[in-house]
């Protein structure tokens, strides 16, 4: 049973890219395309979700993702409640389920959830009331599907068709929910070749089973690539047993102008943010003509408007038909 789609095959929750059809992903991209024009109008709002209450439930710190979700919800005319629950509430002993039940009692229609445990979005989706939709804003190392879709949106705008593309994802694949969702989205959309580039300490076991070709050498990994997707390297990973130092990581995997020449001349460079300049990416590249990093951020709003409106409306018509 796929928790994410209703009987008519429409989006009910958005938890992971896995298991969603190519058609549905294209629907999301097309819907996002129509929302992308909204901020350019003088009135930046559409009334699609008027009267709906959306809760941004963040158990992990986030600036970009939370604010773009909030903006997206507001541009759809929904009421938005931001709840940041750091470790202290769980220290108090309240379980995730109790937190959820308390919020449900406030009659919310949608939860946008970020949590440090893989599978937490699935867990919440399995326990919410039937009319409530859950959007995964990042769960542990598992999935970050709206980030992957805004990346796909950005790629489609620059490259059109996916089938001839070679895409290289560079960095901490092991701990990255972004990478897992990107890989699934690229494979579902039929990308020509998906590569991952990292030292073995940052590649998960049997990584090929995700449908990627692994490389440990940056130049080989990005050779003739159309798209280079850099990942954020968390600072705490740079000391200890995974990597010896920032210095050596930059030496081996830092994306510089010089190394970028190995990719196709029209290759684009992406990063989900926040960037570590001078560690995974050189400022010249990040701010250079090939970088589409800031476009990714604005596309994030359109994609999140698309996903929220689709998920909310499947729930609604479902109830009406009964």
């Amino acid at each position: 049973m796929n928790l994410q789609v209703d009987k008519q095959g429409r989006l009910r929750h958005f938890l992971t890219i896995e298991g969603l059809s190519r058609e549905l992903l294209i629907d999301i991209l097309d819907a996002a395309e129509s929302f992308a024009a909204v901020p350019e109008q003088s009135v930046k709002k559409v009334p699609l979700l008027r009267g709906k209450t959306i809760v941004n439930l963040f158990f992990e710190a986030s600036t970009r993702t939370r604010t773009t979700f909030e903006l997206a919800a507001k541009r759809l005319s929904a009421d938005v409640l931001n709840i940041n629950i750091n470790a202290s509430s769980t220290v108090k002993g309240e379980t995730l389920l109790d937190t959820l039940r308390n919020l449900e009692a406030m009659h919310c229609d949608m939860f946008v959830v970020r949590h440090s445990e893989s599978g937490s979005a699935h867990f919440i989706a399995r326990h919410v009331l039937p009319h409530v939709s859950v959007i995964n804003a990042g769960d542990g190392r598992h999935a970050h599907p709206t980030q992957a879709m805004l990346d796909m949106f950005t790629i489609r705008r620059h490259k059109g068709d996916f089938s001839n593309l070679t895409v290289a994802i560079v960095g901490d694949i092991m701990h990255s929910r972004v990478a897992r969702s990107q890989i699934q989205a690229l494979n579902t959309l039929g990308a020509g070749e998906v590569r991952v580039v990292a030292p073995h300490t940052l590649l998960p076991a049997e990584v090929e089973s995700l449908g990627v070709r692994p490389f440990t050498e940056l130049r080989e990994g990005i050779r003739d690539a159309d798209v280079i997707m850099m990942l954020r390297l968390q600072r705490e990973r740079m000391q200890g047993a995974l990597l010896p130092s920032e210095h050596e990581y930059y030496y081996l995997y830092g994306l510089t102008e010089k190394r970028l020449r190995y990719a196709k001349p029209d290759a684009i460079v992406m990063h989900p943010g926040p960037m570590n300049r001078g560690v995974e990416v050189d400022s010249q590249v990040a701010d250079g003509p090939r970088s589409v990093i800031l476009q990714q951020v604005s596309h994030g709003i359109a994609v999140r408007m698309a996903v929220m409106s689709m998920a909310m409306h499947s729930g609604e018509t479902d109830g009406g038909a009964a």
Partner: protein, 426 residues
């Protein structure tokens, strides 16, 4: 003295190579004869076992009772009653209670509670180190006197010198050490490190977390000469390592949890916390290797690894849930499934639940030899049934085998000649 005859069953006693339809005669809590009644035997009670198998009461090498300390999960009375309903007459409980079984008083307490309940024999394992902290040796001689049948590490002992000393001391006291092989630094995840954990983004436990520990522990067993038992193997390579060590004459044995013989990492798709177990469910080739180990006798005991939990303990994202399965009630049917799958004969399957574990414990049980205690399990090997959450005897309802067709239903369980369970429909 009460006299009982069990009539017409297929009597299987692997320890004595018995497999024949015959009657079993019991007097005063002991088996007195098979086949021919002793002179002047007049039964006070007859149990009809036609079409059923009559075998020694099952011995489970690992079942957590949660008492003392976690009575919100389960209690000795509730779980020994569930054991009786599952044909199990003897259970080993690991020492990770609260307080830990590292003093004679706690060992005596759990035995007394079980004796009061009267459903099954509870055989505690003492802690190998005080508080299971892996730092100081426990009072092993006193624990043995208080009824502990072995000394267990439960949680891995990182310091090889301390483990060596613990083994030497256990050997001195004639105690078998029960080792849970897990490298503490490699074993920090919650799922097998492989394709499924990679896809779901779950922190992985590599196969090497087990094999590295088995390799070190085997080296120390050879060094110290202690009799050692490896608990809950989960990898095919560890089975081969133990097989090799046994071939070389090392005094080692091994068991496996019944669920490991039927489930793999593939089951955890969708983050169902009922599949969160430790050691984790591994690959299909590991599962096959474990089944072969059981069939060939390298793994001489199948245990339940029973870990009852309250519902809340399983209501969280996968890694945040408590590991373990409520497994007493599926021990026999899951082991019998190996017979249906053609991996072994019925007598060998019963051996893994009776004479096999008895030999590991070095106890006089797990057989129907005349003179031994009349701990008997009678079951219908063909009857299909399934577990429903509301009908489980254990307080823990956390099992991935709810509503799954099972074969082999216990009809009667006798403990020292007393019927402690009788299936209502029989």
């Amino acid at each position: 003295m009460k006299r009982i005859v069990i009539r017409g069953g297929r009597v299987i006693d692997p320890a004595n190579g018995v497999d024949a339809v015959q009657d079993v005669y019991i007097t005063g809590g002991r088996i007195v004869a098979l086949g021919t009644p002793p002179d002047g035997f007049h039964a006070d009670q007859e149990i009809q076992a036609g079409g059923n198998v009559v075998c020694p009461g099952l011995i489970d090498l690992c079942a957590r009772m949660r008492e003392p300390g976690q009575e919100h999960k389960a209690m000795i009375s509730s779980e020994t009653r569930a054991a009786a309903a599952s044909g199990i007459t003897s259970l080993c409980c690991p020492p990770d209670t609260r307080p830990v079984i590292d003093t004679p008083a706690v060992a005596q307490l759990v035995r007394q509670r079980a004796a009061q309940a009267g459903y099954a024999r509870l055989l505690p394992l003492g802690a190998l180190t005080q508080g299971l902290a892996g730092e100081a040796l426990s009072e092993m001689a006193l624990l043995k006197e208080a009824g502990c049948v072995g000394a267990a590490n439960v949680t891995p002992i990182g310091n090889s010198l301390i483990l060596r000393r613990a083994m030497e001391y256990a050997a001195t006291q004639g105690l078998t050490v029960f080792l849970t092989p897990l490298d503490p630094w490699l074993g920090g995840g919650c799922a097998h490190e492989g394709a499924v954990a990679t896809r779901l983004g779950l922190p992985g436990i590599p196969a090497a977390a087990e094999t590295a520990a088995v390799a070190r522990d085997l080296a120390l067993v050879l060094q110290t000469g202690v009799r050692a038992h490896f608990c809950r193997l989960s990898t095919a390579l560890a089975v081969r390592m133990v097989a090799r060590a046994r071939f070389d004459g090392a005094p080692v044995s091994a068991d496996v949890a019944a669920h490991q013989l039927h489930l793999t990492e593939a089951a955890i798709t969708d983050f169902d916390s009922n599949f969160h177990v430790l050691p984790p469910l591994r690959t299909e080739s590991d599962r096959v290797g474990l089944c072969e180990g059981v069939a060939q006798g390298v793994i001489s005991a199948v245990c339940s690894d029973h870990q009852p939990h309250e519902a809340d303990a399983k209501e969280a994202p996968f890694c945040a849930t408590a590991a373990g399965v409520s497994a007493l009630e599926t021990l026999l049917p899951l082991t019998l499934r190996l017979v249906r799958e053609g991996l072994m004969d019925l007598s060998s399957a019963i051996a893994r639940l009776s004479s096999g574990p008895a030999a590991i414990l070095g106890i006089d049980a797990g057989t129907l030899t005349p003179g031994s205690a009349a701990d008997v399990c009678i079951f219908d090997p063909e009857q299909e049934w399934s577990l429903a959450a509301g009908q489980m005897k254990s307080r823990g309802h956390n099992t991935p085998f709810l509503d799954v067709p099972l074969h082999g239903r216990v009809t009667h369980t006798l403990l020292a000649g007393k019927v402690v369970y009788e299936h209502a429909a029989s």
